[in-house]
């Protein structure tokens, strides 16, 4: 055992050393020391200052799910209003605010954050690392997300919530037609949320290229990682577009600039370009990691590796790349010239190629495998079907003439819900069923699980499939009511019934979560007999994830013996120990060779305070409290300086010989 060897070491160990290789079985000195180093302090202080990716990931998941429930309740109110013609439950203004907040909540506060939650929790486990590349940034990203969510809801109880739809077109959202604080809350809230998403994305990108276990070469990375990586790169490139759009809108509204002001040469279409340059890649950012969840978890229930790993990795990246150049398909009805539209129609159709590759890879995996019909499998199989339906209606709307017919009708609403619920919510719920044992150490109940799937699946299809029909009958989206002479009564009633059935399915799922938390059967490290690294550690994982950094020898580290591939076997017993304080190994981007021993930061509440000050700064901007804004800016800068101050413990500073106890 290496614990004895590491006491004798050269003096300048703090700048370079040979990392110790050894074993650390549970209860050994090294294991105890690791636990002491990595565990957060108990109590509220530890809660506020933890930088553990697992705690942050779970917070992301829980918070995003609460937003899903809020958005769902808003949807139910909308569906009650639309169940019958000429209803007066909601006023038009209330209806506008409800559908706007429903969209904003689902798209911005649920869809990506929940996937960030999964990725935050799972990435270091999947990659065999001790933490993300930037643990403090990770905590910061969560706090800003939470505060931005609260920020966007502050005006809701006052009846002044955003009311311009989630894509918030000018001139309706401009200063002339929308004089209340509604849009300002949305605009500043989105800029704030953009900070969270950007830093989170930067963290994922850097983590992939630096933090993989030795031996996890680029061709062995799980597909979920490819999905989140692709989404994160896209976010880095396009978030500035939407943040800028909302900031310019805020300037137009509060400072009197003229970017979108038609009377002075401004262009409303500039808004649409900036918004959709962001908006369409965003749509893929909120589905690709979810597709990755399926690609990684489905094979477990098919008892065989995913068919077409390379094709799936390529499909993931290609969908996103094409996704950068299709934003104008959201603008087909704006009067742009024909060739300009046709180019984007053609590009939009190309997306069906990589999407189909992915679909056929999943089908082939099920086909060639021996499916085990557990709850997660049902959700993933259901996802494949919904993806096909949503994809087909997508190809239809990619054709410019057909889009003219369908634009702004319920057909589009049906399409986008098939895509977003089908490709995001179903994999996410399936993913929670799948990783719940890892999160909590307990299994979820199978009977309730299957029931929740069937109720959700039937409710979803009953609710949303008729919307296609409503759209073909010409029902426009975003109308607060309709006359019974339009002939839309039947479809709307069915949709409303379906939406409540779906909600009951979600409720059953939530009951299952609560019951299983208390009474679920205890799960071992690998209850599903899965192949990937996160199942190599205990459930729930210890604070340090892996006592010994795994050395990876294949794409399916836990299935090597039965697949009998490769020249060696992954090593979980003996490997890098890295136990001199919080340490992690940095490896090379493609070959995953060890490059450096990283000093990881300790728990700190600086990210919380920095997040708080930045959020208060936005409150100051919203209320025009300029002195307050300046004060929070200074406080934020001080917090940032504290954060960045070079530390000896992190080996960021020059250290004279012999002085290495920083």
């Amino acid at each position: 055992m290496a614990s004895a060897d590491i006491t004798e070491r050269p003096i300048d160990d703090h700048l370079a050393r040979v990392p110790e290789i050894g074993c650390a079985p549970p209860g050994s000195d090294i294991e105890v020391q690791l636990a002491r180093t990595w565990e957060s302090e108990p109590g509220w202080r530890g809660w506020l200052s933890t930088v553990d990716h697992k705690a942050i990931g779970l917070r992301y998941i829980v918070t995003a799910f609460i937003f899903l429930i809020i958005g769902g309740l808003e949807a139910l109110l909308i569906r009650i209003q639309l169940a019958r013609p000429d209803q007066t439950l909601l006023t038009p203004e209330q209806y506008n605010q409800l559908f706007t907040m429903h969209g904003v909540t689902m798209i911005f506060l649920y869809a990506l954050p929940i996937l960030s939650g999964f990725s935050n929790y799972l990435w270091p486990l999947l990659l065999g690392s001790r933490d993300m590349a930037f643990p403090r940034l990770n905590a910061f990203s969560y706090w800003i997300f939470l505060f931005a969510g609260i920020f966007m809801y502050v005006s809701f109880p006052l009846g002044q919530a955003p009311n311009g739809g989630w894509f918030n077109y000018v001139p309706f959202s401009g200063p002339t037609f929308n004089t209340g604080p509604n849009i300002d809350v949305f605009a500043l809230g989105m800029v704030l949320l953009g900070i969270s998403t950007s830093v989170g994305s930067a963290n994922f990108v850097v983590t992939l290229f630096r933090m993989r276990a030795p031996g996890m070469t680029i061709n062995r990375v799980p597909i979920l990682v490819w999905g989140t990586l692709t989404a994160s790169v896209a976010n880095l490139l396009v978030i500035p577009s939407v943040s800028l759009a909302f900031f310019l809108l805020w300037l137009d509204r509060q400072m009197g600039t003229h970017f979108f002001d038609v009377a002075n040469g401004g262009k409303p279409l500039l808004w649409q370009h900036l918004f959709w340059i962001f908006g369409h890649p965003w749509v893929y950012a909120i589905v690709l990691p979810a597709m990755g969840i399926v690609s990684d978890a489905l094979p477990t229930f098919c008892r065989r590796p995913l068919v077409g790993y390379t094709a799936m990795a390529l499909a993931t990246m290609a969908v996103m790349l094409i996704g950068f150049e299709v934003w104008i398909h959201h603008m087909f009805a704006t009067g742009l010239p024909t060739v300009a539209l046709s180019i984007f129609g053609a590009a939009s159709m190309v997306i069906s190629v990589p999407s189909s590759i992915a679909v056929f890879a999943w089908i082939a995996t099920i086909w060639l495998g021996r499916p085990v019909f557990k709850t997660p499998f049902l959700f993933f199989a259901g996802f494949v079907m919904l993806f096909v339906i949503g994809g087909l209606s997508g190809v239809m709307t990619a054709a410019v003439p057909l889009d003219w017919q369908l634009n702004e009708t319920y057909f589009i609403v049906a399409h986008l819900h098939y895509v977003l619920l089908g490709i995001n919510v179903f994999p996410v719920v399936g993913g929670i069923y799948y990783w719940f044992p890892k999160f909590t150490g307990r299994m979820m109940d199978e009977t309730l699980g299957k029931l929740s799937f069937w109720v959700m699946f039937i409710g979803f299809n009953v609710g949303f499939f008729p919307m296609h029909w409503a759209g073909l009958l010409g029902m426009p989206r975003r109308v607060y009511t309709y006359s019974s002479r339009m002939g839309w009564d039947g479809v709307n009633m069915i949709t409303s019934i379906g939406s409540f059935v779906f909600a009951i399915g979600v409720l059953i799922f939530l009951v299952n979560v609560v019951v299983s938390l208390k009474r679920g059967a205890l799960a071992g490290p690998n209850p599903w007999d899965a192949a990937t690294l996160e199942w190599a550690t205990s459930s729930p994982p210890p604070a340090y994830n892996f006592a010994v950094i795994p050395t990876v020898a294949s794409r399916h580290p836990l299935w090597e013996d039965r697949l009998d591939e490769g020249r060696g076997r992954s090593n979980f017993k003996e490997g890098l120990l890295l136990a001199e304080g919080r340490e992690a190994i940095s490896t090379s981007p493609i070959d995953a060779k060890p490059l450096a021993i990283l000093k990881m930061p300790d728990d700190t509440s600086t990210p919380f305070f920095l997040g708080l000050f930045i959020s208060l700064l936005f409150v100051g901007l919203l209320l025009h409290w300029w002195l307050f804004t300046a004060a929070t800016a200074i406080a934020g800068s001080l917090a940032l300086i504290v954060w960045l101050w070079p530390r000896k413990a992190l080996a960021q500073r020059a250290m004279p010989q012999g002085d290495n106890n920083g």
């Binding site: 290789i21 262009k267 500039l270 003996e574 450096a596 080996a651 960021q652």
Partner: protein
């Protein structure tokens, strides 16, 4: 039975070792996303300028003398940061401090001249579309210069506290990269706002 693979290890650097550090990667992602931000700002400019029916710029072609000189000042400050970083790398901390100080002085001069330039404009941010674009784009850049100056100031303090030596000075590399980025972006802003109208 195939055996588990066995890792062999050699001596590895520990902690924030130059370009192997997390911070170096982090600042690159920051630069990418910030570069996109300026890209979108310039997109707004060209999009609106291409479709305008006013004369553009409305107050005639901008004078190039002062902004041109200012551009050179900013580029000189980048060179100073570079020289300072090299100095620290060669264990000449004094040179590092001198380089940073010179860069801060030049950067501050840039800000002062740019403020003067702003004051001399006959239009403001709300006068017309061009004014909104001009002041927003240069304003964004100005904010970045001020943040960059704060970063340089911080580096200066750390250098004077003796935090850097020839083996650990990654903060200089990271802060320097940000400053170079701010300067390169100015070239694009300058070309768009000052040179493009002459085409």
């Amino acid at each position: 039975m195939v055996e588990p693979v066995q890792l062999q290890s050699e001596r590895l650097p520990v902690g924030s070792a130059g370009k192997l550090s997390g911070g170096w990667w982090g600042v690159q992602t920051l630069i990418v996303t910030e570069a996109c931000l300026f890209g979108y700002l310039l997109f707004c400019y060209f999009y609106l300028a291409a479709q305008t029916e006013q004369t553009w710029p409305p107050d005639g072609l901008p004078s190039l003398l002062v902004p041109g000189a200012n551009t050179l000042i900013l580029l000189a400050s980048s060179a100073c940061v570079w020289a300072g970083e090299r100095g620290v790398h060669q264990s000449r901390t004094g040179r590092g401090i001198a380089g940073l100080t010179a860069a801060i002085v030049l950067g501050t001069a840039f800000v002062a001249i740019q403020l003067m330039e702003w004051r001399n404009k006959p239009y403001g941010m709300t006068t017309d579309l061009y004014g909104s674009l001009y002041f927003t784009i240069t304003g964004f850049h100005m904010a970045h210069v001020i943040i960059g100056l704060a970063v340089l100031l911080l580096l200066l303090v750390w250098a004077m506290l003796g935090y850097f030596d020839s083996r650990r000075y990654v903060a200089m590399t990271i802060g320097g990269a940000y400053w170079h980025f701010v300067d390169v972006v100015w070239l694009f802003v300058f070309s768009t706002l000052y040179l493009f109208p002459y085409l």
